[in-house]
Symmetry: C2
Subunit: 326 residues, 2 copies
């Protein structure tokens, strides 16, 4: 206990469409404690900011510390974020436009706040902490409710002209394919996100397919989670197995596209879908990607699943805050 | 005449699957003279290197100069090139593997040679000469027999881990679509290259479609060129018009994908197909790209056709040689 440093701590926050996660980190990026709250985005911007502040206070309290010990906060939000002003320019899942996240959080917590896109932060966290900053060029790909990505180029987070680079979920890979939430058809997200996987299972069920999920969750498949799919496959469910295989194949094709375009040294996959179904999906993803990528592009390239799981976002938040304080 | 500098000249070479183009440039990158030869790749590596050397000598002779006035040569080859060793690692259109292009050319010409991938060079030429080095992040997209690309990131040519970045032609955008020369299906190249366009016209013809091309070129459409398609459209040919519209729509979707992923400031299009059909294709490409790209990604972004035409490659060769001499 006496080894816990009492100052210069950093808090990383992952603000998602459904939950808020906050973690207290040492200056060496060791996670001490974390706290979780639901987002309740329907209550509006002010209420969500209030909940983020509460989640930060909860995490600090869990570590038997106070906000006075915290030097900076790094937060990721699901949308386009201006890293200078800390404004969330556009976050469809929260229904926010031009929301002054940094300013409002700093007002409440009196600690410097730095904001960034959520999957950019996940990629930054994996790069700095899990991979020790090694790859010069890294692509992060996160499959959850949606699909997001992040790019490290020449050792630094790459944001592009409008700071929106890494929107890999809306790469069209099947013209005329299933409709995406964005209005287009055949986006990677519409083929391999949790939403897409669940929709495909429901469709197969309506076509007369059989799955143990109806036993497990009832005929409407209420409250289906990625973990349920893993359990179903373990119980020999062919319908779920085939849907997950298809999602993994689409993901492999998307990874091959990105290797052809960007030729990163490492591709790291994460997010709830990968965390729950790594064993079922990763070998198919890797095989398909190496099969589809052009000869010569994949030599020495690694395609791996992140071990940070749910903590990728808060870890990246801590990395960002530490970088920006320097 | 007396203003032509007599020393420190640079030669840029564009080595393609069917033709070799060499241009003599002033140190300020003004093109003085150029020369052209067919490649005759079937004669093998040594013979092609000999022809490249001859083409360089021809261009220098056209400018009433000698190789003694040339300080360096920059050459682009259609494949993966190691920019350090100047070796062509893999060039399917030339049937080359690990071909020591730099070494063999330097032996023949006794001038320093620098080699690079051809569409990387085109992108470099457009960035430095046509756009005066302005955009920090630029994507070049070249539609000819195949489709190639190049990336400028943070003002510099970006090559990636295996120096193969920018292989945008093999981005799959229609899973299960038409077969590509690479063995995959539904690659951008299989949907919008000259090869793809010609194949689609032949298919429509076999399905009973009517086109003035059969009048212009005979029933087999022998020696069809991109320029013939423009002439056919000008004569009101609906079949050709529709095929070109489709290729432009696919190109627009590919551009949107790349804007979502990379968020460049400028996307520049070039290559034989665009040079011949700019008027017919560009407005559809721009409209489709802006329609498919995510909100917020396109603000202030330009999508333009290069004005360098056939000279993009030799211009980029001169830029490369000038950079590497410094």
């Amino acid at each position: 206990m006496s080894e816990t440093p009492k100052s210069d701590l950093i808090v990383g926050v992952d603000l998602g469409g459904t939950k808020i996660l906050a973690g207290v980190f040492t200056p060496q990026l060791k996670l001490l404690q974390s706290a979780k709250l639901s987002t309740k985005s329907s209550r509006g911007f002010e209420a969500v900011v209030e909940r983020v502040a509460r989640c930060v206070r909860d995490a600090v309290d869990e570590a038997d510390l106070s906000l006075k010990n915290v030097k900076a906060i790094g937060i990721g939000a699901p949308g386009a974020v201006d890293p200078e002003s800390g404004e969330v320019i556009y976050a469809p899942n929260l229904d926010w436009k031009n929301a002054p996240l940094k300013k409002e959080l700093e007002k409440r917590l009196e600690v410097p706040v730095f904001a960034e896109n959520d999957t950019n932060l996940c990629t930054l966290g994996v790069h700095e902490v899990e991979l020790k900053g090694r790859p010069r060029h890294l692509l992060g790909l996160f499959l959850g409710t949606g699909v997001g990505g992040g790019l490290i180029i020449d050792g630094k987070l790459y944001r592009g002209f409008n700071r929106t680079a890494g929107e890999v979920g809306h790469m069209v890979i099947e013209v005329g394919g299933p409709e995406c939430g964005c209005g287009n058809k055949g986006c990677f997200e519409a083929l391999a996100s949790r939403t897409a996987i669940f929709r495909r299972i429901q469709e197969r069920l309506k076509e007369g397919g059989k799955t143990v999920l109806t036993e497990m969750l009832g005929p409407g498949l209420a409250d289906m989670k990625s973990g349920d799919l893993r359990k179903a496959i373990k119980r020999g469910d062919k319908l779920v197995e085939r849907v997950i295989e298809e999602a993994a194949e689409y993901t492999g094709i998307a990874v091959a596209n990105l290797i052809n375009i960007l030729n990163p040294e490492v591709v790291v996959l994460g997010g709830g879908v990968i965390d729950a179904l790594e064993g079922e999906m990763m070998s198919i993803i890797v095989e398909t990607a190496f099969d589809y990528a052009m000869p010569g592009t994949t030599s020495g390239i690694e395609i791996i699943a992140s071990k940070l799981g749910d903590n990728a976002g808060i870890t990246g938040g801590a990395v960002l805050a530490r970088q920006r304080l320097k």
